[in-house]
Symmetry: D3
Subunit: 277 residues, 6 copies
């Protein structure tokens, strides 16, 4: 390899900022999940003290992560960790509500344990709620690392900056994208392949609302794409599958599109399959 | 953390049922795949006896998994394992047919080994066929853990309860969802982003057919969404991409929708890109 | 298990070709990425010599991989490795341009480091560019293993044989499929769920162009499906979300479809939700 | 490196016999120990069935090990495994007697659990008794691999061919060597650094008794060296530390040597320490 | 395997006490060593805070270990951990003195880093000083697990109950045994193969002094065996190699034994080697 | 923990020199052993090229190790590595001679493969010969790390600075110490517990010969201690077990000591065992 190229790479490596402990953060979040939700836990706790010590060890682990990137933080590692830890009881309550909504929303689900243990939607929402807490505490990079961690495992990409209400239900999650300035109300249900995105994404728009608002009790079916910061989907609306929506709709709307259906005359299957549609 | 909160978590952990050995089950299924399909195997077998011993060790491993959750089972671990093992030759035959269908269905595929080794569709169907066998044996939780295992690695989510015929071909799998009461015939081909789902998912519908029926020789293109337990797609039909279908279509149907196309007058690209569509 | 079945499995295992070192190849590509992009690096380099030695060790690692599958190669392992290594400075330059395009194209992105470290689009494009180099060198199987490696982690499936220009931007990648004979120009932007695929996939078509051509400065929104080897999307066009396109459109086209919108009269949410759409 | 040298290495590698699965054998023996002695166990067994399945899995694991080296064996893998497994109850009884002897023989020992869990003497004797069983079944190489495994962890080197009676007590084991044709009676106690070896080790002597016979109730203190196939230490004898013994001694002997003691006149410590002794 | 035998094993497993976290304890001690001695450290600390957080994480880790065996402890986990942590500065000082003594005592040693990083004597003494602190705090089992951990890695077996003064130097440690009630003064130097043991080890003697007293500035050469609770080696004495000593010697003694030397008449080496010595 | 103490630890960590890659060096040496001795190899080489590539990868790995500690080296990493690699054919020849000597010297050994695979003596001599090569190339720290690596696994401690002739045979190695300035001729045989050490180890003696000279064809039995830089053991001598020797002996000497033997009158074993010897 060319020496000049190697010299440049070396300079790049010299200038790279301190390593952000991404995988440690993901392990920490997994640890918190195991604390809050026994079906996910790999350990047994014989006493309350054992639970307490485990919680304490998570706190220290998190302070250790934050300390390694201290220069990038808006507050002291101890304060940030304290703040996050204090939110855990509330987070626990919210996530149980989400799991309950997913259980109620999917006839195939048989128990809350099954939802907590196997639903990608639950995992993605849980990681989002942790990442969102860090995002609000203005911790850099870690929220995005967490959302990408969840995305790689579930196919669900919720930006940590999004605002999501209670009882959020994702059924079969692959391919969901929820953008940074999205607002989602309570009791919303979203199916696979849904995009809540921006239109005409210009860098100058970084600080304004670019993603839609979804009011309470909305259901959005598979493959629907809803775009734009001024787009509001009114409460109790139903957005049909594969709909492309870039304007607001009032409460109780039902939005869908109808396909054209044509029955072929020929009965030779090979011919039909090769017909140029 | 609040002591009352810790006490509650402790109680939750006390009440959690015996740990279901999810990751051991996934390893077991990987082991079976390596036995059945040499391109996936990490070991070399010098003699037939070595193959036999390996098969036997898989059997014991599976009995061990089942024993650890014995109280949840409808039959003895040994009987369930026996039953599953007896199905392996048939499973092997079915999966080779699936692989062959994927090879024939994708001009980019160069060999059956390539399909077995690198196609997410093959992996997802293989895990589905194992999970479905366990689902029929009424083993709880493990089938769902397996389907989520495959989903996390392939983006393809086939409920273990679905019924799928022979020569099932998935080309490029990300984002496929196939619901619990779906019926799929033989020689069906499904592209990425397809949803075979339910409408109006009410918990009371848990025991009735909520997902569509796809008859033999149907092709469903990318992004199509087909919903509802009464929806039947007749044999030899072709469902175009991004179609939203909630009603039955007869044999030999072709279903698609046409976009509106509009050519802009301006030739300034920046302007076009920022135009509010 | 039946002895005859075991005998057959043994014969299959005997006939399986030499193991292709798939996971070693993936580790190698990760190593190259860590060399080229410091935010991904797990090591610190104290001197230029350390960078050089690391690059050299990657070269040897790759030769070692190729040597283990020497019989399948069109040229000597050393020549192929040399060829790939020589392309790295160019690859580095191309990928920095891609990362820059993603930074400019996403208002939510805050720095080039964030893109390199957390964007699935960047990861998928980087692996594609490596896999494409191997594909052109006619190395078998490894390119496909790499593309599936990236697909499993990002949900983005770019066939190593595709041709993609500079400044390629993928924002939120899950569910993107780009076929083997696709041609993509410069400065193209693609959103999640987009398929650039073939129609009527007949095995006889393996050697002809089956996938579309996308000219410079095109934007393709979420869920669009564009199919066919003769389909050309003219430069500066915008393809709206969820569009299904199987014919060419001229430069500066805007293609989209409008949903039907209907506002329900009733205000009882339970009723609306259960309405059969 | 010289090509001729590489060619020679390649030929060496070609001619090397099938890999003997050494580390798998050591894991198997650890597994048996965990089955027999709960303080060593890393798993909890909820039911008798779970114990049974675990035992069965060990049996299969061992058959798998033997199958991989089948050509070197004097009997079928299944027969050898059966034979070994049948001996486990007896082995268990013998090892509990050994542990009890170590507990009684060491005032510092506080419980049988402590002996089983932390005494290198117990570990070495346990592995020896397994290795000896394999040695008697004429399994090649594995017995020696096991004895070296124990040696590397405890500093105690007991040849698998040695014959050792019941209630064998090793207190502080480092540096003990017990040769292939040694006979040790019941209730013998051996301290660290003891050698029971051969004199004049001529290759022609491979098939005759080269190591000593130690009768019942003998105690051998630290650092004693007892050599020769005709050397018999009579029952109830005590061999003092650092003794060098190459001839037989009758029952009730006490063998020791006395040091010369000299008190220095000078009180300058530096001078004394540098004095040439 | 016999069902009755399996039943018995199951009962044994049921009755086994809670698992003592042996390996976690060893990791904890390694962590403390890395904190106190940078040449052993696998991490870099960028700030004092990072050191503090690491120390804090070790404290929590240790509390977690103690909590899992809380029922066996004489005090609360937090108190015991506090007590141990408070001793670390003193432990650090003592171990630096030990390392310095080893550096001064071995002409082959080139730096204090070399001693800390590579001398088994240093490792054994460091683990002993930690284990001894736990022994004095009356924590059960863990001290013995630690001493066996050090023994397995160094061949040096120091009972956690022994009392050892400052500047203790072990040069080449394999095969050293130091018993539970040994007293060792300051500036003592011990070579390989030395035993400081008990005679006539009767279980009734568990609570009396059974091992020797070694006063200040004594040197004990390789292979010496010194036994008995009433045996006192006076200050500034030198014990020659391979000496067997069971009685006290005054200050400034030199104790050794002389070999018999005999020169053979024959010059045929084969003959000499086979001569029966 | 006290803040001042933490501050001091932080300063210590700041001042610690660059981490010497100890474990990488040990892995490298294991890799070389696997290359040279097929019974130790974990890989199969299908072609000569595969051997060559593996050798080349070891060379690069070693250069990488040396580069990370470049500032401490007396020559360039590439030159040192080149030098070491060139010595491998000779090293291979020497070690085969050592293995052959061990096979001939131990009637219990059944094949050269058994010696190479399971004899601690072979492992220790092999690592010594590598460490000695690095010692002569004046590479700091690594030689000592290697000798401690071998010591921890075998109980044999050979200083990398020792000089050892051909056909060196160690039978049962635990507890052997061979000092830095020892000279050992050809065809020497050493049993367990032997010390070749220094007397009166004064730091001022660091640069003079402190350890004995052992001429050709000498046999040293278990537990013998031979000390002093002026001590020469003449060729063809036999040193009996447990001998303490601090002066020279001529060729063909036989050195040993005789124990005192006393037969007890009493036949009560309990009485005898408790007798104060």
């Amino acid at each position: 390899m060319d020496q000049a190229f190697l010299n440049n790479l070396f300079l790049d490596h010299q200038q790279a900022q301190h390593q952000v402990p991404g995988s440690a953060t993901c392990r920490f979040v997994e640890g918190v999940m195991q604390l809050l939700f026994p079906p996910l836990s790999e350990q047994r706790f014989e006493t309350v003290d054992a639970v307490k010590v485990y919680a304490e060890s998570l706190r220290i682990e998190f302070i250790s992560i934050l300390t390694s990137m201290e220069k990038l933080l808006p507050a002291s590692p101890i304060d940030i960790a304290e703040n996050l830890i204090e939110r855990l009881p509330n987070l626990h309550r919210l996530l149980l509500q989400d799991a309950e909504a997913m259980l109620q929303g999917d006839p195939a689900a048989q128990s809350i344990e099954e939802v907590i243990r196997t639903y990608p939607g639950f995992k993605a929402v849980a990681v989002y709620r942790m990442a969102n807490a860090l995002y609000r505490l203005r911790v850099p990079l870690l929220p995005r690392i967490l959302s990408e961690y969840a995305h790689a495992r579930t196919g669900i990409d919720i930006h940590p900056g999004a605002t999501i209400g209670t009882q959020f239900c994702i059924d079969h999650g692959t391919g969901i994208v929820i953008g940074e300035t999205t607002h989602i109300g309570n009791c919303v249900k979203v199916y696979q392949g849904v995009t809540l995105g921006a239109i005409s994404v210009d860098k100058a728009m970084a600080n304004i609302k670019r993603h839609p608002t979804i009011e309470d009790h909305v259901v959005i079916y598979a493959g629907a794409t809803i775009l734009g910061g001024n787009t509001v989907v009114g409460a109790y609306s139903i957005i049909g599958g594969n709909v492309w929506l870039t304007e607001s709709v009032p409460r109780y709307s039902r939005v869908y599109h109808r396909p054209q259906i044509k029955v072929s005359r020929t009965e030779d299957p090979a011919d039909v399959l090769n017909f140029s549609i």
